[in-house]
Amino acid sequence: MNLHHKMDEADRRNRLDDMAQGVLSTPMDRPEGPLKVSGTATYAHEAQPEGMLHGVFVRAPRLGRVVEKDDAAAREMAGVEAIISGDRLLRNPAQGTANEAPIQGATEVHYVGQPVALVVADTFETARAAAQSISFEIADADRAPTDPRNYDSPEDEQSSMGDLEKAMKEAAISIDQTYTTPSHNSAAMEPHASIAHWDGEKLTLRGSYQMLKYNRNELADALGVDPENVRIVAPYVGGGFGSKLGIAPEAVAAALAAKETGRPVGVAMTRQQVFESTMRRSETKQRIRLAADANGRLSGIGHDAWVSNLPDEDYFEPVTQATPFTYRGENRMIGTHVTRVSRTCAGSVRAPGEAVGVTCFEIAMDELANAAGIDPVELRRRNIAEQDPTGDQPYSSNKLDATLTSGAAAFGWDNSCPAPSSRREGEWLIGQGMASAVRVNTLMGSKARVTLDPDGTATVETDMTDIGTGTYAILTQLTAEMLGLKPSAVEVRLGDTDHPPGAGSGGSWGAASAGSSVFLACQSLRGHIAKALGTDEKDLTLKDGQAIADNRSVPLSEILDAPLESIGEIEPGDTGDDVRQATWGAYFSEVAVNAVTGETRVRRMHGTFAAGRILNPKTARSQCLGGMTFGIGMALTEELMHDPRDGRIVNRDFAEYHLPVNADVPQLTVELLEERDPWANPMQAKGIGELGICGAAAAILNGIYNATGVRVRDLPATLDKVLAGLDD
């Protein structure tokens, strides 16, 4: 009794609005909240099994080829059980949805900090001391340069339409500027960690991962075992933001060590190792060209991006992902250029592409607004396209205008084009800035099992994860809504590959994809109940454990004599191509810049967003707070510094890589617009986990310009850069 649905056309049935329980789209507290606040939710390096050994990585101190390892002292230390090295260790983590092992091997060192051995001992302290005692002889070998240069321009990453050069020449106003963003780190608060143990051929890995169905195949492939023999468990994940999309070195090392020692082995990366040997967002250089008439209407858009990655990695930061469809303009040139470097692997960090691409584009739009003397909100409004100008598709929905209007009103935006440096309070220069938000929307295949018990309780099972995103909450609400139960009667079990494979958390697709599979499973359970009552599913009301139809109200316990189970499966289809699906929004900020020190303080920041049906306004708002705060970090402080001599990350801890702290973040405000997008999925909901970062930093940088007249094009806007501008 399963239900499979392929999204080949818009689903306008809008079934969720017919339900009667009234719990979906309410700000319900997270059901797992009490566990998290009391320290009883168990993360990856917790629930340690009896007799667990501790593994600590040894990192490569320089680039080249390992020719000799001196581990005699380590082997002699009491308590050291094994030293794992060799061809199966991962060079770097798998990319998101890779579904196979990444490059393996611990001999060729392609970036400083690459894990080259794992020391396993009875205690963490011994393993750490032994790891520190190991030294390597590393011979020179041909390696990619440590600073990005000599870019390739892959043919299918270049596109053009009309004649941009001509449009630029004929434009009344044009902008042609280059912007740079540095490498970033996801910096989830829980460092990557895994506990592996084998039972014969069967491996169980407790890990901190975002996409278990892929991670299972990646881990099995790396170990050379059958995926059927691999189980991954991740009920709670201490943040991901892209860094835990693919299987990472510690999982494979823990599994190898557990096999060799015959005991469970736990490996928790240090914070420094997370910085060095997981993922960074590539640094970017972006040239943006805008051609506009005197009214600010765009006729041409150019967006070229230069990014880097390790040799033989397919992934590159998709900087220009939203450029083709955000604004109007018939002449376009969009291209991505990639080079190979000896730096930590580049991969996904929250909203790959738009996080930096929309940010720089929205700074360019602010430059255009200033050059044209047009209110920046109005400028954007004038450039909203009727349909995707590149793909020639209609938008499934385009709420940019609505979010701009509503956001400006909520913030109290001054649309009189106040001149830069016109407001001063003592030594503080005050300014306002805004930017649009846009992020592509994606549906992924996902499965879930829902079991309805005669006692009026339901259980949801899928290997989908909750990385802080609110999956436990929204799947509880959705099931309660569809089956007419109190949320307390629903138990959601996540993060276990023994359950049906879900979409995983990433690309903002988790809630909509996993939610749709649960929706479908519930839909089929409703069909069964309707049939038992001799009525049509559409005429069935389920509420408070009662089935109501044809003026009858029957408790579920009278209809069911055994648990009723259904697996729902959503499959992406033509709606992914027939229409342009995206989520939209607008940010507004008020910043104060110190005229003496160049320090920027964000005084107020507001975001208005539209992402289809909002499943839980409390957890959705929290996602937006998170994204906007990433934006504050990107605008003002976050920057991985690579040593030009060997590419190493110099600032590989929280003392030197500056995340926003509580005092850097004002009481942000968030407004979520009511919307239904029938093209997205049967729930008409879209992703919201990343929308909040896609352009957020631009609202602050544009505010700095308005406050000071200093245009920072090299992110982040640290004090030195602002001061240098203030001097002239």
């Binding site: 009391s38 320290g39 608060m189 460092p191 240090t270 914070r271 957890t619 707070l625 929280f654 005092a663």
Partner: protein, 172 residues
Amino acid sequence: MKTTLTINGNTHALDIDPRTTLLDALRNHLDLTGSKKGCDHGQCGACTVIADGRRINSCLTLACMMDGVEITTVEGLGKPGDLSPLQDAFVRHDGFQCGYCTPGQICSATAMLEEARAGWPSAVTDNLEGETVSLGNGEISERMSGNLCRCAAYPNIVDAIREVSERKEVAE
């Protein structure tokens, strides 16, 4: 090395490597994994516990130095069904997302409320002579800035703490 730790009112006799930090003693030897390791370097606050009433980073102290000190971890503040007022306020205000920084935030906030009551000024306190400090958003943000939250629940954390602090003020 033999050490006796008093944690949440219970005494534990341990015989552990003298290099063991208080945090690792809790997590690896006592199965008290509520205290989290985010950096092991005193840079994130995820490991915050309360030692004789003061908040400390448990990764920055060796377990053997804590003999005779009353340690309170998040597990000692409340349990599901019997949450402390701050724990309860964090749930209602969504003062967390992934939850990994949360035990540290809550231990930190618990001790911080007492610091303010005792009149300890912070970098943003105007009146350095006050008997107590009243906690507005700015004071709370400043005093909670040793606890990083990458999920960035900061505004909700501030709301949760302010609610509890105001309730306490009214009760007094």
